[in-house]
């Protein structure tokens, strides 16, 4: 079988690391995302593997859709196969977490209650394994796809049940988890794709409909072929705030400004102004008709008004980040907030709550404040031209989008506002496109 040539872009952000895989034709065939953790090298490897796994799933899908005999089974089979695959990955990681927890618990300072501690940990991890199935059931709504997030939520709940203020305390259990989760996160070995996929295949077939089961032997062949497919990474380009840490040679590293410009152009060819609000920086970029950057402005060393600000506000209000926007949208009387200083955000919030202002009105004011800051950068970069593309994690927040739409309308008039559901991958996509161009230019 001919090897598949791929081009990989990696965007090492302050919060998450993203990867995009393109084929020769420039089509996205795989994507991956992971939390950037404390170790950029690991994040980079994890996200690359993740994107390659998805690439193999894309190949599987292409093989199935390309086979007339399998026409009807594609969707049901593939989503079930992916869920089973993820479930197996999750179980593998839980097994590693169990090991890491017991290793951490083996520390001599815990020797006084070794037996109770081991029993508690055993029960907690057993509970996590039991719950794991729920996360990957057909109807499950996962708050996050990151193992760290899922495991933390489950562990904390179970640890509360299994702790005892007079014996094995909750704090003690948390401490062990903090140590163990780092070990799990920073280990790369995921077990080979082939083993995992083969393992996922049989339960998928066993629980499938008769229509799918009838094609079992053909589906096994397809999956085998995917496992054996040779994928070559023909070109790689890294970008993002952590790009200096990427283990690539210098010529394979591009500024995220250029990558965002090109990525936005690929998603929306009409883009002329691009706004990216990420975890710790905001960028206003002007591009030409080819996606080449004409000018740009970035926030200064202070990250006030970036994505992390909303993160703090959400934490302060005990909300998930994704709940913040919808809450703000319920506002009927927006509060005027001038400061976007992240450090003062908590105090500002509490002060306003104590004045009797409503949560949704305050949060609506906070959203507008960060967008006002972005408007100033946009003005500095040369204004908002048509079409206007909004990217980065904050583009997924509906209240931020509302505020932006309104302020752009007021200041610049009617503009087409583009937001892609995949906007978080804009930088990685641009990087992958650069990798492809470079490889094709050298060929």
């Amino acid at each position: 079988m001919k090897a598949l040539r791929t081009y990989v872009g990696i965007d090492l952000g302050s919060t998450t690391t993203k990867a995009v895989v393109l084929n020769d034709a420039g089509e996205v065939i795989g994507r991956g995302i992971t939390n950037s953790r404390s170790n950029y090298d690991v994040a980079c490897q994890v996200v690359r593997e993740e994107a390659m796994v998805r690439t193999r799933f894309t190949l599987t899908r292409q093989a199935i859709t390309g086979d007339p005999a399998l026409a009807q089974v594609e969707k049901a089979f593939l989503s079930s196969l992916q869920r089973n695959f993820r479930f197996r990955q999750h179980l593998d990681q839980l097994a590693r977490l169990r090991e890491a927890l017991f290793r951490a618990a083996g520390d001599p300072r815990h020797s006084a209650h070794r037996r109770e501690l081991n029993t508690a940990l055993e029960s907690i991890v057993d509970g996590m394994v039991e719950r794991a199935g729920l996360h990957f059931s057909e109807l499950a709504v996962r708050k996050s796809d990151f193992f760290r997030d899922l495991a933390t939520a489950d562990y904390m709940q179970l640890a509360e049940q299994h702790s005892d203020p007079r014996g094995i305390t909750f704090d003690m259990l948390c401490g062990l988890f903090d140590a163990a989760i780092l070990v799990v996160e920073n280990a790369i070995a995921q077990g080979s794709f082939e083993t995992q996929l083969r393992g996922a295949l049989e339960p998928t077939l066993a629980s499938a409909t008769l229509a799918v089961q009838e094609k079992a032997s053909r589906l096994r062949e397809v999956v085998e072929a995917t496992c054996g497919a040779q994928i070559v990474e023909t070109g790689t380009v890294g970008t993002g705030y952590g790009r200096q840490r990427l283990p690539f040679p210098k010529e394979q590293i591009r500024s995220e400004i250029l990558c965002h410009g090109l990525g936005a152009h690929a998603m929306f060819p009409g883009s002329r102004t691009v706004l990216d609000i990420g975890g710790q920086d905001t960028k206003a970029i002007q591009v030409d008709g080819d996606g080449l950057v004409v000018s740009f402005q970035m926030n200064d060393r202070c990250a006030a008004g970036c994505g992390r600000y909303l993160g703090y506000i959400a934490d302060e209000m005990n909300l998930g980040l994704h709940e913040l926007g919808p809450l703000a949208q319920q506002s009927t009387s927006r509060v005027k907030i001038n400061s976007t200083c992240t450090v003062f955000a908590g105090a500002e919030l509490r002060e306003r709550l104590s004045l009797g202002q409503r949560r949704e009105d305050i949060v609506a004011g906070l959203h507008r404040a960060i967008i006002l800051r972005a408007m100033s950068l946009l003005a500095r970069s040369g204004g908002v031209r048509d079409e206007f593309t909004f990217t980065g994690g904050v583009a997924r927040n509906p209240a931020a989008v509302d505020a932006l739409r309104q302020l752009v309308q007021e200041n610049y008039g009617e503009r087409t506002l583009n937001i892609s559901a995949d906007s978080i991958y804009t930088g990685a996509l641009g990087a992958a496109l650069f990798a492809r161009r470079a490889a094709q230019a050298n060929a």
Partner: protein, 378 residues
């Protein structure tokens, strides 16, 4: 002053030297302890802090208290407040030379008369009183002659950057070229010989096809030719410079190197008109120019020095330089078609130099230039 055998101490130069010597952070903290606010000119705070910490100057020796405070401010109005503060610290006379702003973009005859009159009635009498010497115009003429001689060589060196590739860096390297003339050696024989040696050295580099000299040796291939607006950052001067030369960026012309006079615009000290020429010198300093004049100068640099781009280092605590810089950026982009870059740092407050952020912007900007040059397939 020199013609009266008086020695100048320049607080601004002391501040930047303290910045380069990594002392300014402590000095600024000291000034803040005495009640100076965080957001004002960091040169002022650095100078006040140095004074409060024993007035140890850049040479490592204690500076003697001054006999006279001579204030001649050109375009920077903060100087007036600065010297007010110094007056509170030192019990000594003050002479103030008021330099009119070039609001119409050129020097008018009554401007010159106004300054000459102040020199005659205010500055010279005070210098005579302090030094106990009579004003010696012949001595002044001789100094002006020496100064003009060195100025010729300085201009030759600065304009050598019109060559492609350039043998000098006219911003980071430029600081060392303007240093002697803008500070202690103007109008001296030592100054003349420094600029002669410098000119010969640069001519040699040019003949040998060598690029600018950096702290790490000769700069490699010239990849980008830039014009810089705004002063450099002093606290991380080397690090800042490295961000440019590591990427093959050479600054071929800069406005900062004109804060002590626009010699490349044709100005020379003229021994025939000693006081008038001093008046014209004061008014011609870069900071005393209005935005349209600055714009025209930068435009000229971008064209004549065949720059690929221009970059503005906007100084957080310096209003006289920073006001209007974004407007300059837009107008320059429009009139020259050359893209501009914008970075922010400070003169001598180390807290305002965020290396990762600045490096990110410089790299992004240079990659943008590269992409502009090579098109989509960059």
């Amino acid at each position: 002053m020199r013609s009266f055998d008086l020695l100048p101490v320049l607080p601004e130069i002391n501040a930047l030297q303290s910045g380069m010597r990594k002392l300014s952070g402590d000095y600024i903290a000291e000034a803040e302890k005495h009640g100076h606010s965080e957001d004002v000119c960091t040169y002022v705070k650095c100078d006040i802090g140095m004074l409060k910490k024993g007035n140890i100057g850049p040479t490592g020796e204690r500076l003697p208290p001054p006999d006279l405070l001579l204030l001649s401010y050109t375009g920077c109005f903060t100087f007036m407040k600065w010297f007010e503060l110094l007056r509170q610290e030192y019990d000594c006379p003050v002479a103030m030379l008021h330099v009119p702003y070039q609001s119409e973009g050129r020097i008018l005859p009554h401007h010159v008369e106004y300054i000459v009159q102040q020199l005659r009635t205010e500055v010279i009498p005070k210098l005579e009183a302090i030094s106990g010497r009579r004003y010696d115009e012949d001595r002044l003429r001789e100094m002006l002659r020496l100064s003009a001689q060195a100025e010729d060589d300085l201009v030759w060196v600065l304009e050598s950057a019109k060559n492609v590739p350039s043998p000098i860096d006219a911003y980071f390297g430029g600081v060392y070229y303007i240093g002697p003339m803008f500070t202690a050696f103007r109008g001296t024989a030592e100054g003349v010989s420094y600029y002669r040696v410098l000119r010969e050295e640069v001519a040699g580099r040019l003949r040998a096809g060598l690029g600018p000299l950096t702290p790490e040796g000769s700069q490699g291939k010239e990849r980008y030719r830039l014009v810089m607006e705004g002063p450099p950052n002093w606290t991380s001067f080397r690090e800042f410079w490295k961000m440019f030369y590591d990427e093959g960026a050479v600054v071929v012309a800069s406005s900062y190197t004109k804060v002590g006079g626009l010699y490349d615009g044709g100005f020379r000290h003229d021994p025939k008109r000693p006081l008038e020429t001093l008046a014209e010198y004061c008014m011609g300093c870069y900071t005393n120019l209005g935005l349209p004049t600055r714009l025209a100068l930068l435009e000229r640099y971008i064209r004549e020095y065949r720059a690929d781009g221009f970059m503005i280092n906007s100084i957080k605590s310096c209003n006289s330089f920073s006001v209007g810089q974004l407007l300059l950026l837009r107008q320059l982009e429009q009139s020259t078609g050359v893209p501009g870059g914008f970075i922010e740092s400070d003169l001598v407050d180390p807290r305002y130099f965020s290396a990762a952020n600045i490096k990110n912007r410089i790299e992004s900007y240079l990659q943008m230039l590269e992409q502009k040059r090579t098109g989509v397939n960059a």
